[in-house]
């Protein structure tokens, strides 16, 4: 393949919904993976740029009003600019990006209230420094009086607990940061 053919191929794959593309013949092989690949749970998800945005209390994801509400009111074109402004600032503020780039995020698959232990008098399922395996229960998320045990899909060491006990969580909210190489 020529250089141009490869860049054209990458462009085409990016526009599609594919998560992985593999091609090989006797003297050439290419594999292209898009961000959809990690989202499908094929590989641990690594998105360092997301981490600094959540160091602020995660509870505010749900409870606080979107701060740009009044600014966005005057015209419908404003919101787009407000969104674009957020992202570069977040990256600039993050000094620990490189150090965090190998961490995996354990996210909530459901909406509800997060509990670190099975009941107030029991110890937390996991704490910072613990090693966990795939399938280990890492927390409870309670919804509509049902206590759901959340199992980890990854193995590694708990590096950070991202959310306070007994706080509300939404879908995809980051619960723990795990180092898979520990």
């Amino acid at each position: 393949m020529t250089y141009k053919e490869i860049t054209d191929l990458i462009r085409t794959i990016n526009k599609s919904n594919l998560s992985e593309f593999k091609y090989s013949n006797t003297d050439f092989e290419i594999t292209i993976r898009t961000e959809n690949y990690s989202k499908k749970g094929n590989a641990p998800q690594v998105s360092p740029s997301m981490i600094p945005m959540t160091t602020a209390s995660p509870v505010q994801h749900i409870i606080s009003a979107q701060p740009t509400t009044t600014a966005a009111a005057p015209s419908v074109d404003k919101p787009a600019e407000a969104i674009k402004a957020d992202v570069p600032a977040a990256n600039a503020a993050d000094g620990t990006k490189d150090a965090n780039s190998n961490l995996i995020e354990v996210k909530s698959p459901i909406v509800g209230t997060f509990y670190r232990s099975a009941s107030p008098d029991k110890p937390a399922y996991v704490k910072v420094g613990d090693n966990i395996n795939v399938g280990d229960v890492v927390c409870i998320v309670e919804a509509m009086k049902l206590f759901n045990e959340i199992e980890s899909e990854v193995a590694g060491k708990i590096v950070k607990v991202m959310i306070e006990d007994a706080s509300p969580v939404e879908y995809d909210q980051i619960l723990y940061l795990v180092d898979p190489n520990a």
């Binding site: 994801h61 749900i62 409870i63 606080s64 009003a65 979107q66 740009t68 509400t69 966005a72 419908v76 074109d77 919101p79 787009a80 600019e81 969104i83 674009k84 459901i110 909406v111 509800g112 209230t113 919804a143 509509m144 509300p168 969580v169 939404e170 879908y171 995809d172 909210q173």
Partner: protein, 453 residues
């Protein structure tokens, strides 16, 4: 009055509900899927909860996730909008069990009107005219022909498991019956693995005219006049208007009374719409009842100057509605702007809007959740905006709509704006001379179709 309402919906209607809630001093909770994170309803609501991935089944249709969001935000009422769970009786029931007010009718009322055969039976009992028919599945052609003789040709054979026009045959005379019967059954068997056929009188050149109704928790029901939704493509409404150019004062009185009777017969609570087919002789027949707010509620709002979402919330909070019906004092039209390619069979055109300028000015209203830079995803329906114009007369309304459509700039994807521009110029449309078959023979500009490479 409610302190906090969770909106179990997305897109323009979610934003519409947020707006009225803000005006009423009620706090709002938006729920959203991961791809709707940047949607306007999420930005303008007081709180927002991510409830799932893009797939509707795992987000906007997920009752457990929505109820969990209600729980963690302490909302005391849920507004279901239209589509999604708005006519899901189970959802309404779950809300009631948890002590959350479902802003809409009771689960029972939803069930009664949700099943078409039950709805028809209820209407017959209430003496509301319905499309006469076989009442159930036909045993054979002989029985069919006997019933057809009673109700009068033309009749239409319909597949009970059917949809999309499949398994349907119009029969205009007795000697055509046998063939039509066989063809309909074969098609139904092939398409739905169910060759059950029932029969209805075929309403000639029908107009789709619906009556907006509202009922409170005390048994009072009023009507808010009609909307004409005859401009449809494949049974999807494209343009709605109020009042109907086909309406007369006496027909409105009769249809209004029938609609009120229909709603009262089930003690209907909330706002709803009774849909009728009206033939060229101004005979009208009950088609179905929608037990929710509708997309086109906006045209009624414009001609009677009344906030229907506010009405819904007030009714749900236990307030009484007035005694009088509402008559239109102006003329309004709505064009549904979809992200579709008009010149290539209306295929969906998702993508990122690179430039967005909506029309403004006297008598122009745009209900939309999109903006410049917004990405229209392929996961949900293609409607991206509603353009509503209001004027003193129908003629002025059309002129205003044409002007507004010309001003509507949406770049980065294809939209149905050109189609609406064509319809505004159409002679028959301008005369008010149309029925649900209007778009069947419409020239969509074949010459602009993509050439095959």
């Amino acid at each position: 009055m409610f302190k906090k309402i969770l909106i179990a919906n997305r897109g323009e209607i979610a934003l519409r509900i947020v707006r009225t809630c803000k005006e009423m001093g009620i706090k709002t909770v938006a729920v959203y899927s991961t791809v709707d994170r940047e949607s306007l309803h999420v930005r303008f609501a007081d709180e927002a909860v991510c409830i799932g991935p893009a797939s509707s089944a795992l987000s906007y249709l997920s009752i457990p996730k929505i109820m969990a969001a209600v729980e963690i935000t302490n909302a005391d009422a849920v507004h279901p909008g239209y589509g999604f769970l708005s006519e899901n009786a189970d959802f309404a029931e779950v809300c009631t069990e948890y002590g959350i007010k479902f802003i809409g009718p009771t689960p029972e009322q939803i069930r009664k009107m949700g099943d078409k055969i039950t709805a028809k039976e209820t209407m017959i009992k209430a003496n509301v005219p319905v499309v006469p028919g076989s009442g159930g599945l036909l045993k054979d052609a002989k029985q069919g022909m006997k019933i057809a003789k009673d109700i009068g040709y033309p009749v239409i054979l319909k597949a009970t498991a059917g949809g999309g026009g499949k398994g349907m045959r119009i029969v205009r005379a007795k000697d055509e019956f046998e063939d039509a019967w066989n063809m309909a059954r074969n098609e139904a068997k092939a398409s739905f693995s169910n060759d059950g056929i029932y029969m209805e009188k075929f309403v000639e050149e029908p107009r789709h005219i619906e009556i907006q109704v509202a009922g409170d928790q005390y048994g009072n029901v009023i009507h808010l006049s009609e909307r004409d939704c005859s401009i449809q493509r494949r049974h999807q409404k494209l343009i709605e208007e109020a009042p109907s150019p086909f309406m007369t004062k006496s027909l409105r009185k009769k249809m209004g009374e029938a609609a009120i009777k229909a709603a009262k017969s089930i003690k209907y609570e909330g706002v709803g719409t009774v849909e009728f087919l009206v033939d060229k002789n101004k005979d009208f027949y009950f088609m179905e009842m929608n037990t929710r707010i509708q997309v086109e509620h906006t045209v009624t709002e414009e001609v009677i100057d009344h906030d229907l979402i506010k009405e819904q919330i007030k009714i749900a909070a236990g307030e009484k509605i007035g005694k009088k019906n509402y008559e239109p004092t102006m003329h309004a039209m709505e064009c549904r702007i979809n992200a579709e390619d008009v010149y290539n069979d209306f295929r969906p055109s998702p993508g990122t809007i690179s430039s967005f300028h909506s029309p403004k000015g006297h008598g122009v209203r745009v209900d939309t959740h999109v903006y410049s830079g917004y990405t229209v995803s392929p996961h949900y329906d293609s409607m991206i905006a509603k353009l509503i114009c209001r004027a003193q007369t129908r003629e002025e309304c059309i002129k205003k709509m044409s002007r507004a459509l010309d001003e509507f700039i949406i770049e980065g994807l294809k939209t149905t704006v050109p189609l609406h521009q064509m319809i505004m110029k159409d002679e028959a449309f301008r005369k008010g001379d149309f029925n649900t078959g209007f778009l069947n023979d419409f020239d969509f500009g074949e010459e602009k179709k993509d050439k095959k490479p």
